[in-house]
């Protein structure tokens, strides 16, 4: 299975399906969807050579809204399914997508190991610091003092820092994007896909229903003041001190992707028998 030939001149619209999103108007996920379609057009891939794999959540509904091959799996396991798919089908462009609950809570273990395994795929998390689909419970990225029905006094727990964790776990490309800038996000996604190995794009994507205050994020985001680094130690320092609203590529490394050989048999199946024959 060789890499498909580039397909120039495709319009982003071609990547949008006729299934209408169920998202709330104003939800950041709409623009992430359009960023993805723009990025894919810019990457000159055809929809049938792209797979969008997700878990469960509002954000995880995204595959069916594209004309790519989609896989809407179970909660938290998008990265596992995407890993299996990419290893088995290295010719495909694989995007794993989903929410902060999906990726950092129930799927947290897969996040660590996907970073570490460094399979050549792109993971896009639409972080709204809440469980949108289940009506507004705190997620690992929720601020400690945000109160909700399940945590009336806030969680009192420190937030999870996905970018730092991705770096520490071995992700090869780390970027933060914002849904208030669809074109910038498209560009970051395109860079992430082009970068070999596991690329992680955290998109600030407001939940206007359960976190209406996040509408203000668009005033808070700003381009990262410094150029991307390939020095993990420097990246770690920057990420640890970052205000959470720096937008751009924050780390781009050179680790060799995990890509086992597939589809090139050296032996016939029956030859495996020789070790059993007496």
């Amino acid at each position: 299975m060789n890499a498909p030939a580039p397909a120039a001149g495709l319009k982003p619209q071609l990547f949008k399906s006729d299934v209408k999103p169920v998202w709330c108007p104003g939800c950041g996920d709409y623009t992430v969807l359009s960023s993805v379609t723009k990025a894919l057009a810019a990457l000159e891939v055809r929809p049938e050579n792209v797979a969008v794999v997700s878990g469960i959540g509002c954000s995880s509904r995204i595959p069916a809204y594209t004309t790519c091959y989609g896989f809407h799996g179970v909660h938290g396991r998008a990265l596992a399914a995407a890993t299996g798919l990419k290893v088995a089908r290295p010719d495909l462009t694989v995007l794993a997508m989903g929410g902060d609950g999906d990726g950092y809570s129930i799927g947290g273990n897969h996040f660590l190991h996907a970073c570490r395994r460094n399979v050549d795929l792109t993971y896009i998390v639409m972080d709204n610091r809440v469980y949108g689909m289940t009506k507004g419970q705190p997620s690992p990225t929720t601020e400690p003092d945000w109160d909700s029905k399940l945590a009336p006094h806030g969680t009192g727990l420190r937030e999870f820092h996905p970018l730092v964790i991705a770096l520490a776990s071995g992700a090869n490309f780390i970027a933060r994007a914002t849904s208030s800038d669809p074109n910038g996000t498209a560009d970051l996604i395109a860079q992430a896909v082009r970068h070999p190995g596991f690329s992680f794009v955290e998109v600030l994507s407001p939940c206007v229903t359960f976190r209406p205050e996040q509408r203000n994020w668009k005033e808070m985001v700003h381009p990262a003041p410094v150029a991307p680094t390939d020095d993990a130690a420097r990246a770690a320092r920057r990420l640890m001190t970052d205000d959470g609203f720096n937008i751009g590529v924050l780390y781009a490394g050179h680790r060799k992707p995990y890509r086992p050989e597939m589809g090139r048999p050296a032996a016939e199946v029956a030859e495996l028998e020789t070790e059993f024959i007496l």
Binding site: P47, H72, A82, N109
Partner: protein, 576 residues
């Protein structure tokens, strides 16, 4: 067992000792030597909980016909030392006709063994080995055992040479030790020599885990993702290099949630995929198995069952994951459950499971168990069968493509990523024919029917079960009990009892019509299984309308089923 004057048709021997004694190595060599000499055989093993240095026992049965079960008694127990070997007493039943060989340097045999009335013949294994530069007591024991059961020296030498490929001094010393051991056998004298070996045929030496792995590859599996767990690990260890050779790969996942979702992803990508695990892992996989059912993605999960619940007894066998495999999933989730009923059948059934999963686009669970998985058997070369995965694929640019189209058979062509013009989203959400999410009652019903219809759409042929004999009595069993039940039943036949033996291979979907025909005219049936609560009995009661009277004979793990207790049970039951 004794063929008058001409030797035994079957002999069971155990070689035990502490870590470092090398009983497993010697046991493996003995099995190979027996195979070289033209015998069939089965080797199982047992060990203490220590990672290194623990006591261990290699348990072999060598016979003139293929053996699918352990025997009732061990004729010979050889211990290189007695350090905590007494723990294996329940696994190593002896009787007055047995022989115990111990090294006086390590004291008397434990009372639990001696009280069987077995003859004790001391042999100074350690001293004998010491006299040979580079000699090991386990090689002396190998020669001793070979001598006791009457294996020719040439066969022992061939087995030693095969495993000590390096040759040189180590080989010469080992062979000298083997010869010294054989001389001891002649000295102590015994009557456990085997009858002459049958005519040579094409044979394999293989474990159930290897057989299942090979069956999967034959069936077309090229992607495996898995998380290590006893007793499935060896299946994975065999598959990793083997898959590489045939153009596939194995990914070690971070946990079972990952492994099952990885294989769903890979199979969605068009590559037949498998994972192997044991009870605790299968429990973690259940949610994603439901996704495989709903999204119609074929996968194979081999559950090498061990003693449960929870961590249970990780290295021992039991048939108690049946409920989980059959009924673990939420929602109405029709899927395949199959169970091999011999080591050789691990190959055939796993290959068949792969074929069925691919054909029906559904997950298949294969219930093997520790007994099969870790048993090494000398068996007749399994016939090559043509089951190969064949998935119905959609053609590029098919007009008005619907992934979950309501076809007559229920199987609808699957679009494989990379195919133009028919992209779709595989979904665990209930969906309409196109795959788009739907919560309409009509779509739910139509898709439920479709998924159920698929499994009923094909004829599973004769492979659904093994049926032997006739009569008004029947013994019904499954999985690794089958070997012991078959042996017990053949003894019962010599006692004048006629009846049928039915061993079910295809557990889901149930085959009520076939079962009805198989049991036509049967008035009473004895259901034999290795679970405490009678899971198989309940399964039969739940899935089939049986009009005969059912009696249950069940025993949990960890000990493998033995023919004698089943034989006695059959006699009591048939005469009741």
């Amino acid at each position: 067992m004794t063929g008058e004057g001409k030797g035994l048709d079957s002999v069971s021997i155990a070689l035990a000792g502490s870590g470092g004694a090398g009983v497993m190595t010697a046991g493996n060599m003995l099995l190979e030597a027996a195979a070289q000499a033209g015998y069939y055989g089965l080797m199982t093993r047992s060990s203490g909980p220590q990672i290194r240095g623990g006591e261990a026992a290699a348990m072999l049965r060598v016979a003139t016909t293929p053996c699918d079960s352990v025997d009732d008694r061990y004729q010979v127990l050889v211990a290189i030392d007695w350090g905590n070997v007494a723990r294996f007493a329940a696994e190593l039943p002896l009787d007055a006709a047995s022989l115990i060989v111990g090294d006086p340097a390590h004291g008397e045999p434990p009372e639990v063994f001696l009280k069987s009335g077995a003859r004790h013949a001391p042999v100074t294994l350690k001293d004998i080995a010491k006299k040979i530069t580079g000699g090991w007591p386990n090689m002396v024991a190998l020669g001793l055992l070979g001598g006791i059961i009457g294996l020719p020296y040439a066969a022992l030498r061939a087995a030693v040479e095969r495993s000590l490929k390096k040759g040189g001094g180590a080989l010469a010393a080992s062979l000298a030790a083997v010869q010294a051991g054989a001389a001891e056998a002649a000295r102590i004298g015994s009557s456990y020599a085997l009858a002459p070996a049958p005519a040579r045929t094409a044979r394999w030496l293989i474990t159930g885990n290897q057989a299942a792995g090979y069956g999967a590859i034959r069936g077309g599996v090229r992607f495996v993702a898995a998380y290590p767990i006893t007793p499935a690990t060896e299946l994975l260890e065999w598959m990793a290099p083997s898959l590489e050779r045939v153009g596939g790969t194995l990914v070690q996942a971070e946990d079972e949630l990952a492994s099952i979702n990885m294989i769903l992803g890979a199979s969605y990508g068009g590559v037949p995929s498998l994972t192997a695990t044991s009870g605790p892992g299968l429990s973690l996989m259940i949610e994603a198995l439901g996704l495989g059912v709903a999204a119609e993605i074929p996968i194979v999960v081999v559950d090498v069952m061990r003693t449960g619940p929870s961590t249970g007894i990780a290295t021992k066998t039991e048939q108690a994951d049946l409920n989980l495999a059959m009924y673990g999933m939420h929602g109405d989730a029709p899927h395949l459950v199959l169970a091999p009923n011999s080591v050789a059948d691990c190959l055939r059934t796993t290959q068949w499971a792969t074929h069925l999963a691919e054909t029906l686009q559904v997950p298949a669970i294969v219930l093997s168990d520790q007994f099969f998985g870790q048993a090494r058997a000398v068996l007749e070369r399994p016939e090559t069968v043509a089951f190969a995965g064949e998935r119905l694929r959609a053609a590029p640019n098919a007009a008005d493509y619907k992934r979950y189209a309501l076809t007559e058979s229920g199987v609808s062509p699957m679009a494989i990523p990379g195919t133009a013009g028919i992209t779709y989203t595989a979904d665990g959400l209930e969906h309409a024919e196109r795959g788009t999410p739907s919560s309409l009652a009509s779509d739910h019903l139509a898709q439920l029917e479709k998924r159920a219809r698929k499994l009923a759409s094909i004829d599973y042929g004769e492979d659904w079960a093994d049926l032997e004999g006739e009569g008004e009595l029947a013994v019904i069993t499954w999985g690794s009990c089958t070997g012991a039940v078959r042996e017990a039943f053949s003894r019962a036949r010599s006692d004048g009892i006629t009846g049928r033996l039915l061993s079910l291979r295809l557990l889901s979907p149930a085959q009520p019509e076939k079962l009805r025909r198989a049991l036509a005219g049967v008035t009473r049936a004895l259901v034999i299984e290795q679970s405490f609560g009678g899971q198989f009995l309940r399964y039969l009661r739940g899935e089939y309308d049986l009009d005969c009277e059912l009696t249950s004979f069940r025993k949990p793990g960890p000990l493998p089923a033995r023919p004698d207790e089943i034989h006695r049970r059959i006699l009591d039951w048939s005469r009741a």
